[in-house]
Symmetry: C2
Subunit: 356 residues, 2 copies
């Protein structure tokens, strides 16, 4: 990314773009065509929704945290009738519940959901959800922004119609570039009337990318960065990358429990570990960690503000990074008098890493 | 940009973002609030249009080349009634013509136009257009993507309601980040019903930026790059930067004419020099320049394909860069037998730079 920009209407850039798209298809496990989009992940969510719905149509969303709730907001911004299947923040939506609501709303033709909900640290069972949604003849659109490269994700095997990711997070590139894969059924849907839009016109974008082109000026530097990051994933091996995320997440959870704290989500995702924190201490912990140990972790959002902290381990995190953050976290708890003696956290971390 | 990413919900990033916005306001010569948007310039155009129009409303666009024509396409994508004031490719729209059409369409409440149309190399008289549009009580929205930092642009003094720029071009940062400034009148317009949209909701974005925040994950690296580029402009001085662009453009035009060729646009912009090329030679010239001299120049688009070449000089171009490209261009003409003897072009360039 620090190299000179190359012009986007050249064979050189076309090659970079084609290889980047191939790399994305590899991490999404799909043969579906992929669109690159200069926008945050939210823009890509909107792109999926406007291209797969008509005005006033009824859609179903799963609402289990800040990011999945965004599907509802986008749908309502377009005047859609949005049926939300909710879960308590910290839980996933149960596939049986999704099925029940789908049965009660047979006119729903598209379901918009999320793989890993980072605001609560929850992982959803997308494989089961997709099976249900497909059996009802609807399309399933999955925000996989924080699961790509971190969780098992089988776009084609599970039959996911649209999968959305972005350049940051698991694919380790600065933010500003999003991508979407489109199944044949989703592409057929685009032949019918849809919401108005221009920049997010995915039919036009698919045609353009099919020719090795791009409809608008691409974020050249970010595409070049993602190109390199995807090479790194390929070199490490996608399965190894996902297993590394799983190991890191299991180790952090073991440490959290050894410290006498609770892992907040009932089904934790590998991207982040959300930890329930006794009232009044979350911001204190975050501030101390940053001021004294130079480590930044996230707090809770919305209703979880002040109730949880979140330790991120998504992307280029290896065992030593996990020791760095967990040891500092444990030191912070000790410094603040929230635990009496130290060492149990890192011991549990070590033992989990060594599967002892 | 090659430094480590900083998290966007931190004071450190807020400072960078605030200073970047201040820098943009300086180059746009405005006290209006500015929104940063992760998208190409086209996305920012759509953002302006969806926030300032209601479904089925009548709008006016100027249509004088590939990029200004995009306003028409975006308007039509939203089902607006689009009145287009056209000019021959190579000419600007005359302000009197704009006035005539506005008088004939008193129900037009917004005019979408362009400052410099790079597909033809034309500069428009936005100051006069804005005076007319304002006198009719309509809003004026200006795509200044290739004029920011290259042409005199007085957002407040001319009364421009929305001005759109992007990170590449005159502000010398890789593409992927756009920005828009909004006048008070344009912000009032947003209080009334508008087109559906979510990612492009500028009212929400303005509120968020007012608090030093951003509605979506910003393209952090690009904001950091733009922050630095705007500092460079400030150090050189905006007036000097614009005068440098004007000098470079005058010098290239003088060289083109000395080579017996024609500057294509009737009113040339400073960002690029479009040169009329005898039929059949444009692609040959471009290929030779690239293959033999390693210099890439643009060709014509749409109806101008094969009829013009365009030498870009927008952004970080100094006298030596201009000598590099013009001498290679002149060598190419000589190599291809399109001129009999060489030296006249660079001589004219030198004399124009020295105002001899």
């Amino acid at each position: 990314m620090a190299g000179p920009m190359i012009h986007h209407r050249t064979e050189e850039f076309r090659t970079v773009q084609r290889e980047t798209i191939d790399g994305i298809r590899d991490v999404l496990k799909t043969r579906n065509p992929v669109v690159l989009l200069a926008s945050s992940g939210t823009g890509a969510m909107e792109a999926a929704l406007v291209n797969l719905t008509s005005p006033k149509e009824k859609v179903l969303v799963t609402d289990l945290g800040k990011f999945s709730h965004r599907w509802k907001e986008i749908g309502e911004a377009y005047g859609l009738e949005v049926v939300a299947v909710e879960a308590r923040w910290g839980d996933p939506v149960r596939p049986e519940e999704l099925e029940r609501v789908l049965d009660a709303n047979p006119d729903v033709k598209a379901v918009f959901t999320i793989h890993s909900e980072t605001s609560t640290g929850v992982l959803q069972d997308i494989e089961s959800m997709a099976r249900i949604v497909r059996s009802k003849g609807a399309l399933i659109v999955v925000d996989a922004i924080t699961s790509v490269g971190a969780e098992r994700l089988e776009t084609d095997a599970w039959g996911l119609d649209v999968v959305i990711g972005s350049s940051q997070k698991g694919v380790m590139t600065p933010p500003g570039l999003a991508y979407l894969s489109f199944s044949e059924a989703s592409r057929e849907r685009m032949e019918r009337p849809r919401q108005p839009s221009y920049y997010f016109d995915m039919k036009r974008a698919l045609l353009s990318f099919e020719k090795g082109d791009s409809p608008w000026t691409p974020p050249i530097g970010l595409v070049m960065g993602l190109h390199e990051a995807l090479k790194m994933i390929k070199e490490e091996g996608l399965e190894s990358v996902i297993e590394r995320h799983a190991r890191n997440a299991r180790a952090v959870r073991a440490a959290v429990r050894a410290l006498g704290l609770e892992v907040f989500p009932s089904v934790p995702a590998a991207c982040t570990t959300a930890i329930a924190i006794p009232e009044g201490h979350a911001e204190q912990i975050r501030k101390h960690l940053l001021d004294v140990y130079g480590i930044q972790i996230a707090g809770g959002q919305g209703p979880l503000k002040g109730k949880i902290v979140r330790i991120g381990h998504l992307g280029h995190y290896f065992e030593s990074d996990i020791f760095t953050v967990v040891s500092a976290f444990e030191s912070t708890l000790l410094d603040l008098g929230l635990i009496d003696s130290g060492g149990r956290g890192v011991e549990a971390l070590f033992r989990q890493f060594h599967e002892m």
